[in-house]
């Protein structure tokens, strides 16, 4: 992040958010982003919804694995390999 430019919403959302969220952003940049969130309610709403998206996707797991799938796989492979 260059020191001379303001953190615009566009840059924050498109360029910085992913590293802010995965914890790889330098601490001085984090501080600048947090200052921006403190004075930009729309971006704060955006951050919350971005995080909520991640939490929502995690709900898709654990997916139910069909019963006896491992046995079905073994039977399937044996049947195909015995034909050879």
């Amino acid at each position: 992040m260059n020191s001379h430019d303001d953190v615009t919403c566009r840059r924050l959302i498109l360029e910085y958010l992913v590293e802010y969220e995965d914890g790889t952003m330098a601490s001085e940049d984090r501080v600048r982003l947090e200052q921006h969130f403190a004075c930009c309610p729309p971006c704060l709403v955006f951050l919350k919804s971005y995080r909520a998206t991640g939490r929502t996707l995690k709900m898709l797991k654990p997916r139910e694995i069909p019963k006896n799938l491992a046995d079905a796989v073994i039977r399937f492979v044996r049947a195909r390999c015995d034909k050879k």
Partner: protein
């Protein structure tokens, strides 16, 4: 720990190459749930995902000889699984995807977030039933993404695989992975916001 996992995988691979059926069984036990889940991410149908899982293990059985043991097994096998799922998906019906840029948030020309979006659904995520409904919708929105984006968001955000493992499986750099992940999340976020924004909320926003 990842290296321990790979060492255990390689030990099984070598036994399978020698024709040890018990080792193949152990490999199925070890990987069938993950392969099923990856397949489901592509196909979104239990029956198709089950068949794709069977095909993946058949390919493993037939092609294990060609696996290069200097590579990590899981990334090779996950690529096999994704290829099986996508070839099945292509046989089934054409997939309608949206251009990824359509769902990057709308911003003013000065780069500022001109219109705060009404994101009431965010509070709903705290409620189990609403969150489940949102998750089902999100699954559909992920399916709209081009493959290269969908794979990334499915593996990182749903499967919770380590980003470095996903990058290795897909053979892309970490920055490329982050970029795709971010844009895919922006897409799903935007669609969740659109679909849950009530008309009354839109009117309120438009009012002076």
């Amino acid at each position: 720990m990842v290296e321990d996992q790979n060492a255990a995988d390689l030990a099984l691979v070598r036994r399978i190459k020698r024709g040890d059926e018990e080792a193949f069984r152990e490999m199925v036990d070890r990987y069938h749930a993950r392969v099923y889940s990856l397949s489901y991410g592509v196909l979104r149908n239990a029956e198709d995902a089950e068949e794709a899982t069977q095909d993946s293990f058949l390919t493993l059985h037939r092609k294990i000889e060609s696996f290069d043991e200097s590579k990590r097994f899981f990334s090779w096998f996950y690529r096999v699984a994704l290829n099986q799922a996508y070839s099945r998906a292509r046989r089934r019906k054409p997939v309608v995807t949206v251009p990824i840029d359509d769902y990057v948030p709308r911003l003013g020309s000065d780069g500022h977030n001109a219109s705060p979006e009404f994101s009431a659904w965010v509070d709903g995520v705290e409620d189990e039933a609403i969150a489940r409904d949102l998750a089902e919708r999100a699954e559909g929105f992920m399916a709209e993404l081009p493959e290269s984006y969908r794979d990334v968001i499915w593996m990182v955000d749903v499967e919770e695989m380590k980003p470095s493992d996903v990058a290795e499986t897909l053979d892309i750099s970490i920055p490329a992975l982050k970029s795709r992940l971010h844009r895919a999340r922006l897409h799903v976020r935007q669609r969740l916001t659109e679909v849950t924004t009530l008309p009354s909320a839109t009117e309120q926003r438009a009012a002076p």
